[in-house]
Amino acid sequence: MLNTRRKLLVVAAGLLMVAALVALPVIAQDAPPGPGEGGIIIEGNFGGDPATMNYILYGDTSSGAIIRFIIPGLIGVNPDTADYEKNRADALVTDWTVSEDGKTYTLKLRDDWTWSDGTPITSADSLYTWNAIKSGVVDVGVIGYLVDVIDTVEAPDPTTLVVTFKEADCTAIGNAASLAPVPSHILPADFAELNDADYNMNPTVSGGVFKFAEFRAGEQVSLVANQSYGGAPGAVIPTGYIYKNVPDQNVLVAQFKAGELNVIDNPAVGARADLVANPELNMYSYPGNAWDYLALNYADPTNPQSAYDADGNPIDQGHHPLFGDLRVREAVAKAIDVDAIIQGAVFGEGVRMPAYTIPASWAFNKDLPVIAQDVEAAKALLDEAGFVDHDNNPNTPRVCQGCLYAEEGAPLRFTLYTNEGNARRTAVGTIIQDELKQVGFEVDFQTIDFNTLLDIMDAQTFDAFILGWRQGYPDDPDLTQIFASQSDVVGTGSNNVSYNNPKFDELNLKARTLPGCDPAERAKIYYEIQELMQKDLPYVPLYAINGMYGARKEVQGFDPRPSNWTWNIETWYIKAATP
């Protein structure tokens, strides 16, 4: 009996040992690998080579995709709230204070974060960024506008940065965050030499999660783990990151499905259903920050004028023969079935917008209903505006009989542009053309070269166009450059529809400069702005396109947020396939 029990125990112990031996590799495989041993993240890049890897110079998406990993964030952003946050582990600033007049921001920086060569990162590195911007001799990129909003920047000690703005402005913290540090100790003291600095394409020093390894022109940029990264010192798990050029969208998706890429950002909407259904992939869809709109010109396109002359006096801009009348713009908005557009042109990957704030924004007015399609109401509005169906023929446009700004007898006809090569907007334009025909418009829909369209937009000689904007993260709902009358500058301003409403200017300024910048109070003003603009309709709002991030199932730690899908990339690793 004892022998039998002993035998059983021995057998059981043997089985346990075998089980343990079998289980060990599995456990080992499931446990995260050590720093720098997590494998290589490979992302497809649809946009071409990064133009530069110098933060001060960059202006393109590809450059931004690399720079986010080699330059430390100055002010942290909470990935869940998408708002600036003090004392985040992944950013330099631990705290900030604002002066009573709301113009001066004093930022306190960590003192334990170093560049990859061991040199401490200090406020002097952010000061270098500012001095380069205002030098006037540097080919500054997206942050060039800071000279228009920032007055002075000082670095009184290595952990203090004092930023004084020209005006108190609630977007100030976002603008201060744009003064990211660069490794000033290896950059030229003479800013004129910065444009051609070797660092620009060979950034040997990094303060981010990765270090630069190699640039292969037209092919890829390779980065390797930076274990001196202040956000996770000695704990960056992935071995490296490759940003690989794949200029064809179809090939990009095919490479992702085949495993030549292991993460993807915003695949084409037409490919998404297939990707979501693929069991080898983790796809994450979210309300996006890119939105399309139909812009209608307020002013006379035959005699374009800026809103103000050089002395600030208003200029008579005339009226667009059709869209100068609010009722015609309302008729356009009511004639369009945006839901059908989302299904027909965006494969259902869109969310309707009642006005001009993206649904994902903290300033989005959830109580504002979208403009419902109402064909009969649209026809009635056109009748009221003096555009009548003179011959009861649905194939001919209405004509002006007592309308406000068009010549008597002129047909209800306009030209609608969008950029060629964009299948989504071409489909949107075709649907709009068809729907407007139902209420008596004749739309000459043209897809034209993007640069030609930009030319026409800047010259303000258009009737209408379809295009899109993309908001940044953290979201800034400020609409100054798009709709404020001061931005209605022929040739250079983005308010090319010549929307000029003092009430909007007042509310927009109030929301932007509200003392204390309380988000709830600001949101209320933005709600009011959205209601106002839904009535004024400088743009007919269409939809925000859903965003999508994806990773192959073997990528562990992939946990995206809409505002930042790589916020925890230092923990990612590639799980080896089980034999």
């Binding site: 133009a51 080919d139 190699e214 037209g218």
Partner: protein, 358 residues
């Protein structure tokens, strides 16, 4: 021959300048401009756009912009006393933006002094960008040219020899088909079959993403070259085979072929030794421009196969209105084409005794 070559080169100089003036004028006449393309961002202010336009010099008149590109601007605005501030100018005003401060001294030397300028978009010397792309362009170009010749020429000869046969008819139809098939479609179909479905070949790039220190020698990564070469060569195979067939048929009716036949030479000797060798002579006129034309790249094939060549670079530069890069590619292609035609004429005269340098 030297005298002839020199004369042709001298004749090429006005052609070259004509091309540069025409290209520059066309480029600037195109709608849009680099400023908007570089600042399509809702945050950018009108003032920032104006500053950028001044920095790039794109608001200057066409002749000034052309002169700056050709001869530089270090003689248009310069610092005579060495204090780093411009104090003299010619053709340009010292304070172009009217802010009371002189603009920085000009630093460009112009293409005639070897300075192709800086890319508006990539913000670095154009010559660096071009040089980076040339190896990949030549690699794909030569590979496809070799395949096109190696396949197209024999097909043309055999089709002519077997005129009216099934082979002749089949290759004629296939030539039309391959000429008609869009390159991007063929490329994507091949990628989906051999890369995505069968997973036999990579779906693009010049070498593995994991290759360290650049791509290894070409013979170690032929699998990456295979599909783009085939796609790019299809048009060449079709063209060369048809051209060779026509040339061969022309030769077949010559007296010397009849003579060779009557001497009792074998058919193989008649066709290949006497026929094909002479039929190849007109092909020499193709080869010069074809070889130098390789520098122009193959934009569509390069795009579909993520090939880092000049064609893709040029198309991107046109879209972005990156004038310095566009002009550099135009100049390089123009020079190569001019030289290609001269080379072609010289070759023709050398290999065909009936042609004399004159």
């Amino acid at each position: 021959m030297i005298k002839y070559t020199l004369r042709r080169l001298i004749q090429a100089i006005p052609t070259f300048f004509g091309i540069t003036i025409l290209s520059y004028g066309l480029m600037l006449a195109a709608p849009g401009g680099p400023v908007r393309a570089l600042t399509f961002d809702p945050k950018v202010t009108p003032q920032e756009r104006e500053r950028l336009a001044a920095r790039l010099g794109v608001n200057d008149s066409l002749p000034i912009q052309y002169l700056r590109w050709l001869l530089g601007d270090d003689w248009m605005r310069w610092d005579s006393d060495g204090d780093g501030i411009a104090d003299r100018s010619f053709l340009l005003s010292l304070d172009a933006d009217g802010d009371g401060e002189p603009e920085p001294p000009g630093t460009r030397r112009g293409i005639l002094r070897g300075d192709f300028g800086r890319s508006f978009y990539q913000k670095r010397p154009v010559i660096d960008i071009i040089v980076e792309r040339i190896p990949a362009t030549l690699e794909l170009g030569f590979a496809s040219l070799l395949v096109a010749l190696a396949v197209g020429v024999p097909i043309g000869i055999v089709a002519a020899v077997k005129r009216g046969s099934v082979f002749d008819n089949f290759t004629r139809v296939m030539a039309v088909v391959f000429n008609a098939v869009p390159v991007f479609w063929l490329g994507i179909v091949l990628i989906l079959i051999f890369g995505s479905t069968l997973r036999l070949l990579p779906m693009g790039s010049r070498c593995s993403a994991l290759a360290i220190g650049g791509c290894p020698p070409v013979f170690e990564r032929l699998e990456y070259l295979l599909l783009p070469t085939l796609v790019l060569a299809t048009g060449g195979i079709a063209g060369y085979s048809r051209y060779m067939r026509a040339s061969m048929l022309d030769v077949i009716n010559q007296d010397y072929i009849r003579t060779a036949k009557s001497k009792g030479l074998s058919a193989r000797q008649v066709w290949f030794r006497h026929g094909a060798r002479n039929a190849l002579i007109p092909l020499a006129t193709f080869l010069g421009p074809a070889i130098t034309g390789l520098l122009g790249g193959a934009a569509i094939t390069e795009t579909v196969f993520s090939w880092p060549g000049l064609g893709r670079l040029a198309v991107g530069a046109v879209v972005q209105q990156d004038y310095p890069v566009v002009m550099a590619v135009v100049i390089m292609t123009a020079v190569a084409t001019i030289l290609g035609f001269i080379l072609s004429d010289i070759l023709y005269a050398l290999i065909d005794p009936r042609i004399r340098f004159s």
